[in-house]
Each structure stands twice: as structure tokens, then as C-alpha cells.
Symmetry: D2
Subunit: 356 residues, 4 copies
Amino acid sequence: MMIVMQEGATDEQVARIVERIEAAGARAHVSRGEFVTVIGAIGDDRELIASMALEGEAGVERVVPILKPFKLVSREFRREDVVVEVGGRRIGGGSFGLIAGPCTVETRGQTLVTAHAVKDAGASLLRGGAYKPRTSPYTFQGLGRPALDILAEAREETGLPIVTELMDVRQLDEVLEVADVIQLGARNMQNFDLLREVGRADRPVLLKRGVSSTIEEWLLSAEYIAKEGNDQVILCERGIRTFETATRSTLDISAVPVAKGLSSLPVIVDPSHAAGRPDLVLPLARAGLAAGADGLMVEVHPAPNEARSDGAQAVSPTEFARIARAAIALAELDGREVALPEGLRERASVAAEARS
Amino acid sequence: MMIVMQEGATDEQVARIVERIEAAGARAHVSRGEFVTVIGAIGDDRELIASMALEGEAGVERVVPILKPFKLVSREFRREDVVVEVGGRRIGGGSFGLIAGPCTVETRGQTLVTAHAVKDAGASLLRGGAYKPRTSPYTFQGLGRPALDILAEAREETGLPIVTELMDVRQLDEVLEVADVIQLGARNMQNFDLLREVGRADRPVLLKRGVSSTIEEWLLSAEYIAKEGNDQVILCERGIRTFETATRSTLDISAVPVAKGLSSLPVIVDPSHAAGRPDLVLPLARAGLAAGADGLMVEVHPAPNEARSDGAQAVSPTEFARIARAAIALAELDGREVALPEGLRERASVAAEARS
Amino acid sequence: MMIVMQEGATDEQVARIVERIEAAGARAHVSRGEFVTVIGAIGDDRELIASMALEGEAGVERVVPILKPFKLVSREFRREDVVVEVGGRRIGGGSFGLIAGPCTVETRGQTLVTAHAVKDAGASLLRGGAYKPRTSPYTFQGLGRPALDILAEAREETGLPIVTELMDVRQLDEVLEVADVIQLGARNMQNFDLLREVGRADRPVLLKRGVSSTIEEWLLSAEYIAKEGNDQVILCERGIRTFETATRSTLDISAVPVAKGLSSLPVIVDPSHAAGRPDLVLPLARAGLAAGADGLMVEVHPAPNEARSDGAQAVSPTEFARIARAAIALAELDGREVALPEGLRERASVAAEARS
Amino acid sequence: MMIVMQEGATDEQVARIVERIEAAGARAHVSRGEFVTVIGAIGDDRELIASMALEGEAGVERVVPILKPFKLVSREFRREDVVVEVGGRRIGGGSFGLIAGPCTVETRGQTLVTAHAVKDAGASLLRGGAYKPRTSPYTFQGLGRPALDILAEAREETGLPIVTELMDVRQLDEVLEVADVIQLGARNMQNFDLLREVGRADRPVLLKRGVSSTIEEWLLSAEYIAKEGNDQVILCERGIRTFETATRSTLDISAVPVAKGLSSLPVIVDPSHAAGRPDLVLPLARAGLAAGADGLMVEVHPAPNEARSDGAQAVSPTEFARIARAAIALAELDGREVALPEGLRERASVAAEARS
């Protein structure tokens, strides 16, 4: 790190900082400029900055970290892409995953109908919530345990692996009985005890970005998981909170190439939660893929208007099939592989041919 | 709620909405304007909006809620101020609380020295973290259990009640052994399982506002606690995340009068976390009180530069004494009562006289 | 508009609002709910809300506008897409425009070299700044008048129409001598005198979105221009200001489909200013097109590192050629027409074939 | 400035940067760390960073400026407070200014009534808009020239100096005929031609902070004015744009002590525009003063509900008198001088006595 001294900082103040850096086991390097003095501390920033509080020392203007604060999930640490493989479907490293399903498991019927529909349209994995974080205590909070059984049945029927959310460390065991991928929601991106627990679990984790989290904080949360031994993390951009009110969140499309540059983890996009409007799911899904995302997560409901949660943003199975076709066309333009159930790629190719 | 139809919505579309409102047990009221039709749904919005998803219906432009989404914590539900009383100190209803102490309990010595110092300066309660949420897995995460014992000892020595943070539902019992007030941090404001658990506990809760939470969401989180039976909630404004980088967060000073208008709960201000800089703690503390806050929460460290977490923002005991005197002077200007240890009020008055 | 009364508003307060609405020439419609009373004011919101200040009346909780505040640029007013045609190039209505060139005209040589390079790569229009708004008074502010002559020469040599920025009403005449499209920068999106002046000019306007402007405010600024008689407005999304610091601005990709839904005007994307980093220009350009944008505006510099302004984000001619090819491939996937100089489409098709 | 190289940057890349720094007339200082190399460029950042674009060079991770980008308005350049004196009223340096009046001059009657009322309550200056920037072209845009005559008459009658807004360089001469202080609105904070023009005028300037401008950008805009020779600039914090919708803007109360630390210019607060609600003007005005502001700017209307612009946030003369008394009490607590018309201080003291 570099310590920028205030204009007029005294020699004693500079000496005090040098002394503290050396006491911490690092080397100090003083550079006197025309107006200000800068001290370089040569050592590992992740530990140095954590253990010192140099901003508070007399004469210090500010402290500038040099090294990135995360390591295990960084592109420098691991050059090649992490590929998460779930039930034979690969996400990352050129392979593209299409996760779809209801926001919340409401009934057995709704879930099975949706599961079959999204499978037919080309989904690689089925999503569905058993436990739902809800802003208001007066709204539907999910079916809980029974929903997990319904999801297991849907997997058995369709063969689609299951992505479902974990909200509370006490539910880890029952979620692990069913989930092929554990989802951590945006509100839990900095629930550090939960991060540590899933870091010890033997299951891929889908980590949503918090609505007010920087990309760096997101990667630090992934680092919590990786530090416990689990490097099977899928990052999911789902929109950040800004002043704009036309959409529920602002999809930070730049986060896709930025996160993929900083980290080797796969990055997917959730256009449904970002927009909060079904008519924007298709254009945002296309934008996500064009920006380089390794997959999509889309909310689908057989009768969106009757959904018990977030229905306003779910798309119908028909609209999802359109989104899936658009996704496949874009992936093919880039020479990317899409994990597709048998027969679907053929149908997609035929459709592409017919169009041209 | 009101449902605004799109320009050109058909009679069938209007009829469909009316039918759905009536099916939900509410009354519908159609108002045809020159350009658009608006349908009023007369009933309880909290349930109606939760259970329907009218935005998704054909012909609907948008849905406008009329009633506030929270009830138990609202000023309409309970006109008079909620007063939280802890060990004889009152916060709210004209009484002012001064919570001070270290960000994190690091050692027995640091904690006891700080406890005595803040008590002497006028603090009503002692704060100190045993478990610390930290953005990076490489930084100090708190001493855990041993820190709780140190806090208990500090209470015994000084008589100051203890405010300490709960991060994980599994630690609830041990935190309850020591905490006089349970703190929920900004990152856990929407950890709904945690909210429900503290709602069932027999202890006041200090609920920090999330850095990207609206005031309405903050009150909905308080509603989660109240709904479980615990109405002893202190709201704490600690800054929101904005584009400005000169301060760590932007203290939303307007949130104080706004929250006090919407809710009967006491509202305090945390100038330390908002600013992230010790030189701003005094002006922001004064601003908070002038805006009507019922108290302050200030980080104090005997040697701020050596603090193991957030040292950069802690103030020294001497600076805290200055802040306390400023707070007392402002409270007196407004005729508010400050819970002060014996002798301190006298000293404060003498100081005021000397100044004038 | 609808006026939502406070719980407990009196009959007198309701009567007062009704009276004021009727005095303003509109009709009032009172709807009494279980908890609150809502009054509908039936008339033109754009005038009603402007001329009354009902939020200030006793008993009023809030005022909810029903009609959109803009008219001439709205999709309701004009269903079919506005197509802006400049020197035979069409932008909007299925046609796609590729605007490229230096941020600032620095020298004759740099401008001519860039103009030829972007033309060869497929650009439809040439951009270049003569007058530059700069945050600091100590940075290069543009060459002014001589830059306009250089742009005119570049047009003569390449045949590319010119897009250049107008900052000051006093420079309108000289800018009109050269500009085929007048650009209004993000900082001037709400410079209302400038909006009115270009509204009276006989030239298309490229209106950048302000970094903290909502989509609604952006369309209201376009309405200022249209109200003076000029409906040849191209909207340009260039990123909004958020808490994220990894990119200079956050490209609001959702703004593309949202603005195109609300308005008939063409919408283009500026990936260079949004990102502030050359490595993000390609993925953001692709994302913009995939989201439905009618064009791109890209900064190109023959030696980006030596640019006198914003060099850090300009791409080289070689990288621009890659971006243009990617844009053409995406446009073709969607069956959109790209205005291309002779011979280029052929080359693009050959490249596409070679790739497959 | 410091140039942080990427991990693995080559010796050639480092040498290239050193060469460019030296070619720019500065000295380079290379510091090789365990992981990364940092190059210090010793010289004047304001020019260096402006003239180079090192972020674009191969091997460069990022560029960190060391010096502040503004100079003339900085506290380092001028240690003592700038005091702006207008018609015998002082703002800054311990003196406190109370600017009040209508948002917009609507009629002669409304303006004169308000002028007398605010004078009686203790205002030091009268504000009133002749030209109004309005988001929508359909709302009242000010009376223009005739409003300036009304303001001149109000000054003659009350003796209060006039603060009025300049929107367009072409109106400078007529505004200078009447204005004692020229106001630049938030939307024009980065209208650089306007900044330069008022920098050449012989009149104090009240510079509002843009709703999405950082404190640093605000001071750079003040630097534009100072660079032309006018150092009589009053900074006015009026709220920034954030995700919170309970208030129109979020008053950035920290900006008061931060700007006063970085700059010697006086800083005032506009609680009316920040809040957009009359009930918040008093608490925010108090907060502003408690945070150290050198003054307030408050909108007052004799019949707020009938105001033609922004009426929803104006306070009545009675409420303004309450705000003025609260301001005077706070200023006295801090030993600050308030410029008061004769007789008022006496009345304020009597009131204070009566209260105690």
C-alpha cells in the first residue's frame, strides 16, 4: 500500500509511519515529492491494511491499497476459467447455462408444469424457492420444507438439476438434501456466517450480488466461500440500486466483463429481478449474453398474474421459449456451447435455418 | 390501492381487474378520466397487494399503493412515542441516549479503559462488538464468546448497560446472556430469520438501517420484530451508499425527522460509521441531535490508531468528552433530558455558565 | 392525477381540494375507502400538476400523477418510429447508425487519420469535439473554431456527416455551419435555453442522458426540443452515476428498451463514456445492440495514449474495426440494416462466412 | 501522481512510463514491491494528469493522483476563511447569513409581502427567481425581465440585498443590473461558459452543488470562477440524488464540514430544495447550522399552496420566523454573529430569556 502524507507533514510524522510499517514486518520506501511525501509499504496489503489503521496517524492524508483485496477467486491466482459442472451441465469456460423456473414453489402442479415447460424450451437447470426473503412480513414467505420435496419430484420427472435458495444456517441440512446448487440471495451476500457454511458444503453456490454491493465486495464474499475450500461459485448479477425508478434495479451490465476480468469464476445474469418487468426480460437477457455472461437465470410462471410472489416479473413458458431461442442464437454466434436436452439443438438449428 | 390502466385499455380489461379485486374480498371503484381509467380497490393494501399481481394483467399501466405497508410501528397505530428503557436510562419521548464504546472488543484492558472513560464523559450505554461482520475474510472477525465476558465485566465495573451485535441465530442464547440491547447491523437489516428471532426475545433491539435500504424498508424490518411481539426497537441511521466518496457513507440526516414522523419508535444516529473519519464525528453528532434524534452511537478507542477494526473512525476519549458536552448543550437548548451519571449534569451546567 | 388524503382528513379538507380542482377547470371524483379518501382530478395532468400545489394543502398525503408528463416525443402520440436521416444514413426504424471518431479534435492529422480509419471500418457518421466541457479548468478545453474547419475538411475527404457538440448558445451559428448533427452533452441535458435554441434549428440533435437524470427527465428534455418544432432527436444513453467505482459510470442498459417503449425516438448507446475503459467498449457495444439500440457512438484515437482528453477510454482504429464487425454481425442476426460504405458489407459477409 | 503497474509488468513497460513522465518535465521515482511496481511522478498533478493519459499505457493498472485537483479555492492555498460581504452583511468567517424569499417572483404583491415578512423575521438577504430552470417545458418558467424590476423595488423598500439566478450567458447584463449575489443553480454547476462569465463579473456568486456532483467536482466548478479572478463564491449544499424517495433529494450534511475543510469558501445549506417538503425545513435548517454551515437559504411564500413553482416546499412567513429564531439560538450557542436588522437581536434575546 501507499501512504500519502499531508502537505506539510513533519519528518517526525513520516518517521512514525515508517516505524509502524517496519514493526508490522513490511518494508517502507519513502518518496519525497515537491509538495507531498509518499511512503510505500512493501508487503501483503490484505494483511497489512487489515492490521494497521494508518489513516488515523498524524500527518496522513490517505492510504491507497495497491494489491487487490481478494486472492483465491482472482484471475491472477487462477488464470483459466472455473467451470461449474452440475448433473452433466457445464457453466463457464465457454459453456452457457440457462436456469429457469418459478420464483417460489407455490404448488406441486405449478412447479411440475413449469419444470416441464422450461426443460422443453432448453433450460439446463430448474430454479425454485422454498424459503423466500420478503421485505414485508405480510407477504408470502414460501412453503418451506414441502417445497423442497416438490423440487425433488420435479428433478426426478425432468432430469433437471435444482437451484434453490438457503436463507438460514439452520436450514442447511435440509436444503442440501435437495439442492444441486445452493443459491445465496442478494440480501445475504454479506451474511458471513452463511458464506462460511456453504464454503464448507460439497455443493456449487450461486452467489447473487447485493443491490448495493460493489463488484469488489461481491468478489470478497466469493472469497469467503473459497477460503473454506469451495471454489465452485457462480456469480450472478441481478441489478443494483440507483436513483432510476423505471426499473426495479439497474442491471449493471458492465459488471459481467469486469467480474470476468478480475475473477476466473463464471458470471451469469438474472434479467427478471433486475428489471422487475416481464417485457424487459428478453432484451436484458440478450444484453447479458452479448456482454459475455456464462448463463441466465429467468423466472417463469405458467400464469404470471396469479403468482404469489414477484409475479409481476415472471414470464410465461411461451415467452421463455422465445428467450431461450434468442439465447441459443447468440451463443452460436459466439461459438459457445449450450447444454441442451436431446433434440433441442436440432430444433434450434432448424429454426435458425428457416429464419435465414 | 389504485390501479391505473393504460391509455386505450379495453372494457374487458377493466372488467377483468374489477373481477379480480372483488374475488379478493375488496370493493372496486372505477373512475373513467379523459385519457385513462383508474380503478380504486378498497380494502387492506398490505394484504391485497401481497396476494395479487395486478401489474402483470393486460391493460394495467401501474399499481399505486395507498396505505403504508407497515402498521404496528406506524405513528398512526400508536400516536405517542415509544420509550425504550434500559437499566434506568430512557431513549425516546424527549429523553436522549448516548451510546459509546469500542467498535470491537479487542482486549480486557482496552474495553475497561474505554468503558470508564465514556461513562465519565456522560455515556448512557456501552457498546462493543464480540462478533463482527467484515467485508473481507482476511480481517479481524471479533473475539466471540470471550468478548461477551469482558463486556459483562465492564458492565459490573461501570454500571453501564451493554449494547452488542448479534450476527447469527445460533449465537442468540449467548448474546442474550450479556446484551441489554441487541444490535442488528446494517448488513443484517433484511436477515429476516434474525429479525423474527429477536422479535421473540425479551430484550430491546437496536436496528441499523441498511446502507441501501429505503426508510420504508427499514420500518418494514422493524415491523418484522414488532409482529413477533417485541416493540422495543431503536432505529439507528448510519449512512446510506451514494456516489460521493469523500465520506464512507452519506449520513441521511433527513431520515431522522422522516422516520420519526412515520413511526413512534426512537431514532438515533451513528456518526462514526456514516463518516468513516474521526474529524466528522462531532459535526455529524451535532447535526443528528439538531435534526431531532433521540440519541447517538459513537465509536471510542483509547488509542484509535491501534484499533483492530475501523480504528480510522474511532475518536479518543478526550474527543468523545467534547462530543458529549456538545450533545448535552444541544439537548438542553431543546429542553430534553439526558440520562447522566451523578455529578455530570452539574459539571456540564458549570461549563455552560463559564462559556456564557 | 389522484390526490391521496391522509387518514383522518376532514370533510372540509376534502371539499377544499374538490373546490380547487374545479376552479382549475377539471372534474373531481371522490372515492372514500375504508381507511383513506382518494380524489381523482380528471383533466390534463401536464397542466394541472404544473399549476397547482396540492401537496401543500391541509389533509393531503400525496399527489399521484396519472398521465405521462411528456407528449410530443411519446409513443402514444406517435406510434411509428422516428427515423433520423443524415446524409443518406438512417438511424431508427430498424436502421442502425455507427458514429465514431475522436473525443476531441486535437490536430488536423489526428482527425483526418481517424476519419478515414473509421470510415473504412464501417462508421456511418464522424464525431469530434471542438468545444469540450471539462470538470477541471486546468485541462484541455478543445480547439474551438479551428476544430470546426478540420471537421469540415474531414467530411469533404470521407463523405461522413459530422456530429459535434454545442455547449454555449453563443456558438450556435458557427456550429451550425459545420454540424450535420448537433450533440448536446450529458451536463447540458437540462440546459433549457440550449434545448430551446436547438429546437428552433434545422438540424438533428443527439441528446445525451445526464449522468443523474431519470429516463423521464431525459424525455422531458427531448420534449423541450420537440416543442420548438424539431422532432429529429436521437437519444444517447451514456451511463449513470452510481456507487460502483469499477467503471466511470454504470451503463443503464435497461434504458434502451424502456426509452424505446415510452418514446418513438431512436436510442443509441455510448459505451466509451459509460465505461471509461477501452477494454469494456466491445462488450458494452454488443450489449447495447442486443438490447435493441439503434446505434453506437464510439471514441477512436489513432494513438489512444497520446489523446489530450479522455484518451484512457478511446479505442484504436484496429479495435474499432473489431467492434464494427461485431455490431454488423449482431445487426444481421436481427435482420437490421446497417448503413455501410460500398464494399464493406461484402467484406463483412465474407468475414462471417470465413468464421463459420 | 503514482502509477501502479500490473502484476507482471515488464521492465520495458516500466521504462516507457518513466520516459513519458520525464518527457513531460517531471521526475520519476520507481519503487519495486514484492508483487507490483509503483512509479511516483513528482511534479504538479493538475497539469501532469491533464496532459498525459497513462491509464492507457501497456502494463498500467491504475493512476492515483496525489495532489488535490483544485488550488485557488483550497484551504492549503488560503488558510483563513473567505468572508463574502454584501450590503454590509457578512457570510463566512464566523458570520452567518439567512437568505430567504420566494422560489419564483410571481407578482409584485407576493414579492413585496414576502420581502417585508422575511426581513422582519431576521433575513439578511432576499432571494427570488426571475428565470427558472424547469424539468418540464409545460411548467411556469419565470417572469423574466419584469421580475428583476420587482426585485429591485423590494430591495429599495426593505434594504435587503438581492440573490437571483442566472441561467443563460445572454442574460448576464440584465441580471447584473439587479443582483447583489448571482445564483448558479444545481443544473448549471457544470455549465462552464457560465462559470467563466460570472468569474469575470464583479459580484459574489452563490454556487449550488449539482445533485449528482461530488464535493470535488463542486470545488472544481468554484475553481473555474476563481481562476477568472472572482473569489467571492458561496457554496450551497442542496441535496444529492440517491435511491431514497421519501425526500426529493438527500441533504448531504457531511458536505458542510468536508467542504469547509477542503476549501476556505463559506458553505450554506438549502433545506427547502433538499427536502421538497415544508415540514422538514426546520429540522434540516437546524442540522445544517449544527454541522457548521455559514448560512441558510429558505423558500418562503405568503400562501405556499398557491405558489406557481415548488410551492409544495415553501414555508409560510410564520414558519420562517420560527426557523429564524431557531437559527439565531443555535448561532448564539456557538458564539456566532448573525447579521440582523436593528431591533431583532433584542427581540431574539428577550424571547430566549422568556423561554429559559
